[in-house]
């Protein structure tokens, strides 16, 4: 890889992708809409590097990792990169605006990797002038710790784009599992419905969040229950993903649980805001 890799969006996923790329020796340009978000992203990466060994990862020097990451505001900062990994929020209007900017800013050979858990890749490709260079990769969270991703070619994605993407993923230590371009792919068709239904159980008072998760951990042997997983992914992201599935399939089985809407509006987005289905503030264990 000769040139830097652009990472657009410095939220939970973008930060994870940027760190993973940097710790595997890539130069990274990390872009978002404000300096404040980027400062926060650098602080998060520093902290995650410190904690790496604690969570089963390699020993990382935070300064060395951060030295490979340049941060900048605006799409023009990624004008000269080979590959852009886009990680903005799972909202079509937001993604559309970002791709219009990226398509105008980047050279015609630049590959756009859409990091999405639900939005169809061909739909993203259709608003660019480079549909052969657009491909989906569904990274899992926390990105540096996960050994595999879903890789999703769109209708027009070229073999060359698939190979360039596979090479980048391989260099990041990731195995690509190819799946077809259907909204939600494999992972989120199943996971989002599971989380949504788990939220309904809490909403209806059938069990509290701890009870729901206990059943999945203790009876099914899952390492985490669906609502702990929701807090890790972000309750707002869960809601947006379920809404995308609902819109794409026009099928009522994807109707979002009102509790997810309420929590999203209240800022109870999970670990990233300190409280979701569980409280991460340390004062008590207030659970929804």
């Amino acid at each position: 890889m000769d040139r830097a890799i652009g990472v657009v969006g410095a939220g939970v996923m973008g930060v994870g992708v940027a760190q993973n790329l940097a710790q595997t020796g890539h130069e990274v340009v990390l872009v978002d809409t404000s300096e404040a978000i980027l400062a926060e992203a650098r602080a998060t990466i520093r902290n995650n590097c410190r904690m790496s060994r604690l969570t089963g990862g390699p020993e990382l020097d935070p300064d060395a990792v951060l030295a490979r990451i340049t941060t900048a505001v605006g799409a023009s900062a990624v004008a000269k990169v080979d590959i852009v990994v886009e990680n903005v929020t799972e909202n079509w209007d937001v993604k559309r605006g970002v791709y219009q900017e990226l398509d105008a800013a980047c050279g015609p050979d630049t590959v756009f990797v859409v990091n999405t858990s639900a939005i169809p890749i061909t739909q993203v490709a259709s608003i660019t002038k480079r549909p052969a260079n657009v491909i989906g990769v569904h990274f899992m969270n926390p990105v540096p710790a996960k050994p595999a991703v879903e890789m999703i070619p769109g209708v027009h994605t070229s073999e060359q784009t698939i190979e360039r993407t596979r090479a980048m993923l391989s260099a990041m230590g990731k195995r690509a599992i190819p799946v077809k371009d259907a909204c939600g792919f494999v992972s989120n068709r199943v996971l989002m419905l599971t989380v949504n239904e788990a939220a309904y159980l809490v909403h209806e008072g059938v069990a509290d969040a701890a009870g729901v998760d206990d059943v999945f951990r203790s009876c099914f042997g899952h390492p985490m229950g669906p609502l702990e997983t929701a807090d890790l992914i972000g309750v707002d992201t869960i809601l947006y993903s379920v809404e995308v599935l609902y819109d794409q399939y026009s099928d009522s089985k994807y109707r979002p649980c009102p509790l997810l809407r309420e929590m999203t509006a209240a800022g109870l987005h999970g670990r990233k805001t300190g409280r979701g289905f569980y409280d991460y503030g340390g004062s008590n264990r207030a659970v929804v």
């Binding site: 410190r50 904690m51 060994r53 604690l54 969570t55 089963g56 020993e59 951990r217 390492p223 985490m224 890790l232 991460y280 340390g282 004062s283 008590n284 264990r285």
Partner: protein, 86 residues
């Protein structure tokens, strides 16, 4: 070792896991209900509560396995900080 350090750590664990009895020498990771992400929360809690910074070479899972090992870590860091101030 300051008992209140142990008590505060125990208080934090009990607030998160109210249904579980946690002896101070019990390996919390062996109990099966916490994962490595919780280790990160423990680091944040300890640094914030006791005003210490845990250096990279102390960020080992073994330092966070038991209430006792966490309290010993806090004591080590506090002692170092006090020496530095003198």
């Amino acid at each position: 070792m300051a008992e209140n350090v142990k008590d505060q750590i125990l208080g934090f664990l009990e607030s998160r896991f109210p249904d579980v009895e946690i002896p101070e020498t019990e390996d919390i990771f062996q109990l099966g209900f916490v994962n490595s992400l919780f280790a990160m929360e423990l680091v944040m809690f300890i640094e914030k509560t006791f005003g210490v910074t845990i250096p990279n070479d102390e960020l080992r899972l073994d330092n966070f396995r038991t209430v006792k090992s966490m309290a010993e870590l806090v004591d080590r860091r506090t002692a170092l900080a006090e020496t530095a101030e003198v």
